[in-house]
């Protein structure tokens, strides 16, 4: 006997609550100061990621377009990194949970060509932001996240102009594409299903710019050799990637709730990648047989622009979700030293201190962002006048204990990341400069 109620009770706020919690914790994708390891040039990686005041190969198209003026003839750099993360968590209930994240493989390609003695043109293609995390489907935090993946591509036609023998400027237009997907469990069960799953997939594009000034400040000639002082300033604008018309699928949903969680609907969202401002120094001391170069970069990443993440679903009954992120702008210090012998063999060591943009209480399990000091190393070998090879390595090892307060989830994290990089540089063509550049090659 079914008890019919003359008074219809409203449960329409139910889904709001559910999906708000479910979707509000659509994960925090962090980049600089997080999973982004700033891998845009293999030489740079070896120097702790500092390169804004160095400008010694085509990767300067990214790090500081003004530095292109240092490059003679036609120069290409192409590289690839293998990021191998290992993350484990401990919660009050479970002694050990391992992330099942796959390795990431960001790539980069740069070209710089000298047109006249004052003008260079260039082009880049790289993956500046990316993230990939996954857990076993039935893990404790499955209502927060099961899998997430983001991949971005940036394309940047660039031009530089030598204003003065000591100062050059460069600017590039950035076109980027991003594709994003994520899965998480939905806490509704029926007689035949214990819980459902939300699967979101979207892609979009954005436009921005990259500008830089490079200065060969001054040189000191001495008995022991020449010391060059260089300064670079770079600004890369925000990229607001609109994920419009993304696909949302809900599976294993009780029949009575399919109005709220339909098997398929669309969603709109916007992912804002932050702007980055960098000042970099380079000090290179050259003697007969060898050179030593110090590099220091200070990045400021504008994460506070990432203040809300919202998902608007096309299905009217699926409540839209909006989460406040409250991220902070952060500074990152990068430092490296390069020893080059006979302009042929190079050894690099470096370090960087990454500040996390995420405060305590906001740490989400798929990306336990940790303020930390990381170490880097690299080597180069010049095969001949045309071709040289770079290798790099990064080691990150940090722990953090924190909560995601909004989700009532707390864990200890251990995270080790090893990154292996390899790149090749090719140059040919005549030097069109009036003076022969000896310092940066």
């Amino acid at each position: 006997m079914v008890v019919q109620l003359p008074i219809k009770l409203k449960i329409n706020t139910f889904m709001k609550k559910l999906i708000l919690t479910a979707a509000s914790l659509f994960p925090l994708l962090t980049f600089a100061g997080g999973f982004q390891l700033n891998l845009q040039g293999i030489k740079s990686v070896g120097l702790g990621g500092a390169f804004t005041g160095i400008g010694s190969d085509a990767s300067t198209v990214f790090f500081n377009p003004g530095g292109m003026s240092n490059l003679s003839g036609h120069q290409f750099s192409a590289g690839f990194n293998l990021v191998t993360p290992s993350v484990s968590l401990q919660t009050p209930q479970t002694a050990n949970i391992n992330q099942t994240s796959s390795n990431a493989t960001p790539i980069h390609f740069y070209y710089s060509g000298q047109i006249t003695d004052k003008i260079n043109v260039g082009f880049l293609m790289n993956n500046q932001f990316g993230s990939s995390s996954s857990f076993e489907d039935n893990w404790q935090g499955r209502y927060i996240i099961q899998n997430i993946s983001l991949r971005t591509f940036m394309f940047q036609p660039t031009v530089s102009y030598k204003l003065h023998e000591r100062i050059s400027v460069g600017a590039g237009f950035v076109y980027s594409t991003g594709s994003f997907s994520t899965e998480k469990a939905v806490p509704v069960g029926s007689a035949t299903t214990t819980e459902g799953q939300a699967q979101l997939e979207g892609s979009g594009s954005a436009m921005g710019y990259n500008i830089g000034i490079f200065s060969n400040l001054f040189s000191i000639e001495g008995e022991s050799g020449t010391t060059d002082f260089k300064l670079g300033v770079n600004y890369r604008s925000k990229l607001g990637i609109e994920l419009n018309g993304g696909e949302a699928k809900f599976v294993d949903i009780p029949v009575s709730l399919t109005g709220k969680f339909p098997s398929s609907t669309k969603f709109d969202s916007k992912l804002t990648l932050p702007d980055v401002f960098t000042i970099g120094l380079g000090i290179k001391h050259t003697k007969e047989n060898y050179s030593v170069e110090f590099a220091y970069d200070l990045n400021w990443t504008g994460w506070s622009s990432y203040d809300t993440l919202s998902f608007d679903f096309e299905n009217a009954d699926t409540p839209d979700s909006k989460t406040v992120k409250d991220w902070q702008n952060v500074l990152t210090h990068r430092f490296g030293v390069d020893f080059t012998y006979q302009q042929k063999y190079s050894l690099r060591v470096g370090a960087y201190y990454d500040n996390s943009p995420i405060k305590d209480g906001y740490v989400s399990p798929e990306l336990p962002d940790i303020s930390q000091l990381a170490y880097t190393a690299g080597i180069s070998y010049k095969i001949n006048e045309m071709i040289s090879l770079d290798l790099s390595y990064i080691r990150q090892n940090a722990e953090r204990e924190s909560a995601l307060v909004d989700a009532g989830f707390t864990a200890k994290y251990k995270r080790i990341v090893n990154v292996y990089g390899i790149g090749v540089n090719v140059k040919f063509g005549k030097n069109k400069s009036k003076e022969v550049e000896t310092t940066n090659e």
């Binding site: 006997m1 079914v2 008890v3 109620l5 008074i7 919690t21 484990s88 209930q93 069960g189 009532g408």
Partner: protein
């Protein structure tokens, strides 16, 4: 001489080669060490330690909340009874725990959600669900519907043992215990004394206020033939009587050397049963009758948001007779807990809780403040990404009767007990993952 020089040069070359090889091997080894150093695994938790407590014979004393009652029944088709909070606790304690499991998954019958309107269906009882063997030694002594006042005879009342015997033996949920006969009664207290507990949880007292509240502020007087005085089946148990009986239970445990936890009575007006049929949900004027404990007994007036209409009253409204909607046909006093009655029961709950805490302290027991926990739940709590509160169905923690938690809610309760036990006895019981237990089952 030439031979010697050659020898030397050769030696140097060999030495260089050796050095190069050693160098390469060392580089490879360092490389391997780096590669190998990706171990991030945490060590296992240390093994179970019961601290100063002894979990070898855990006895749970209480009512429906303790028995695992939900959706207006004791049922097990999705392991609801198997996951009563004492059973969850016992699993974490790694101790044997025998419950009078219903014989037939549908148990005593239960409520089932058939649509989101909400339409709620009644699943009938499984035949013979409570034909338990009452010679077995059960660990879970929870009996749905039992009040503390029925468990121990009232000092100075000659009819009390008989009344208690009638009430407890007539309770279908208590058939796993032998309560003797009318003139040779065995009390619940006797069963506690015979339990040989080393550890206990005691959550008695809820029905000493709940019954009064769910009957709209009524004492529930009935007459049983053979007993000259009327039995008040849902009276608010008087404070002194409550304390004396609670002390008896505590005394019994203390005498057998058992350690344990006493839980306070949650505020019954916070449960969905009283907070779902709101004036906003009804969307019309409602007329009510004030009850015998209200300021103006018998007074008929318009309902205000402070008057709590019972969930069971939702199907008593009628547009044909106007019952509940017109002054001439107001809701009866049993159909609503008016604001005066709300104050009475809230206040009485606080008084009884004071006695529980005092008795626990006097007998060296720890206290789980479920009264406070209910308020936290009402204002909303989130666990592992899912939000809970005290709302009907959507809140996630209460079952379809609006009174008892669902299995997930009982897991929250178990975690609260674990927190208290660890703190009081220095044990290291692990909390459970709330979402491993079923919440509302949607159609």
């Amino acid at each position: 001489m030439i031979i010697r020089e050659l020898h030397l040069t050769e030696l140097i070359t060999i030495k260089n080669k050796q050095m190069k090889t050693t160098k390469y091997i060392s580089i490879a080894l360092i490389g391997l060490t780096f590669v190998a150093c990706t171990k991030t695994e945490f060590d296992d938790f240390e093994s179970l330690n019961s601290g100063t407590a002894n979990f070898s014979n855990y006895i749970a004393v209480g009512n429906s909340l303790t028995q695992g009652f939900q959706d207006n029944g004791l049922h097990n088709e999705f392991n609801q009874q198997n996951n009563s909070y004492p059973a969850i606790l016992a699993k974490q304690m790694n101790t044997n725990f025998l419950q009078p499991t219903v014989l037939g998954a549908d148990g005593s019958g239960y409520l089932k959600l058939t649509s989101l309107a909400p339409d709620i269906d009644n699943v009938p009882a499984a035949s013979g669900w409570n034909n338990w063997d009452n010679n077995k030694k059960y660990n879970n002594l929870g009996i749905s519907g039992i009040r503390l006042t029925d468990c121990v005879p009232t000092n100075g009342s000659i009819f009390s043992p008989t009344i208690n015997q009638v009430i407890t033996s007539q309770n279908p949920y208590g058939k796993f215990l032998d309560f003797g006969s009318l003139f040779s009664p065995v009390t619940y207290l006797e069963h506690v004394k015979n339990s040989n507990a080393t550890f206990y949880t005691c959550w008695l007292g809820n029905n000493d206020v709940l019954g009064w509240a769910t009957s709209g502020g009524d004492d529930g007087e009935i007459n049983i033939s053979g007993i000259p005085i009327p039995i008040k089946t849902s009276e608010l148990t008087p404070v002194a009587v409550f304390r004396a009986k609670y002390d008896s239970i505590m005394g019994a445990f203390e005498k057998m050397g058992a350690k344990g936890v006493c839980a306070t009575i949650p505020d019954v007006t916070s449960i969905p049963f009283f907070n779902t049929v709101t004036l906003a949900a009804i969307g019309a004027e409602v007329w009510i009758t004030e009850g015998p404990y209200s300021n103006n007994p018998g007074n008929v007036r318009k309902a205000t948001p402070d008057d709590l209409i019972l969930l069971s009253t939702k199907d008593k409204f009628s547009t044909t007779t106007g019952h509940g909607f017109v002054q001439a046909n107001p809701l009866t006093h049993e159909e609503v807990l008016d604001k005066d009655e709300v104050a009475v029961v809230r206040n009485h709950t606080v008084l009884l809780n004071n006695e529980i805490k005092a008795s626990a302290n006097a007998h060296g027991a720890a206290i789980a403040d479920m009264h406070e926990y209910m308020f936290s739940l009402k204002s909303g709590m989130t666990f592992d990404g899912v939000a809970f509160d005290a709302k009907f169905i959507e809140g996630g923690a209460f079952s379809l009767d609006g009174v008892h938690p669902n299995t997930r809610g009982y897991a929250l309760v178990a975690n609260k007990f674990i927190e208290v036990i660890n703190q009081a006895y220095g044990s290291n019981l692990r909390p459970v993952m709330v979402h491993d237990y079923r919440g509302i089952i949607f159609p």
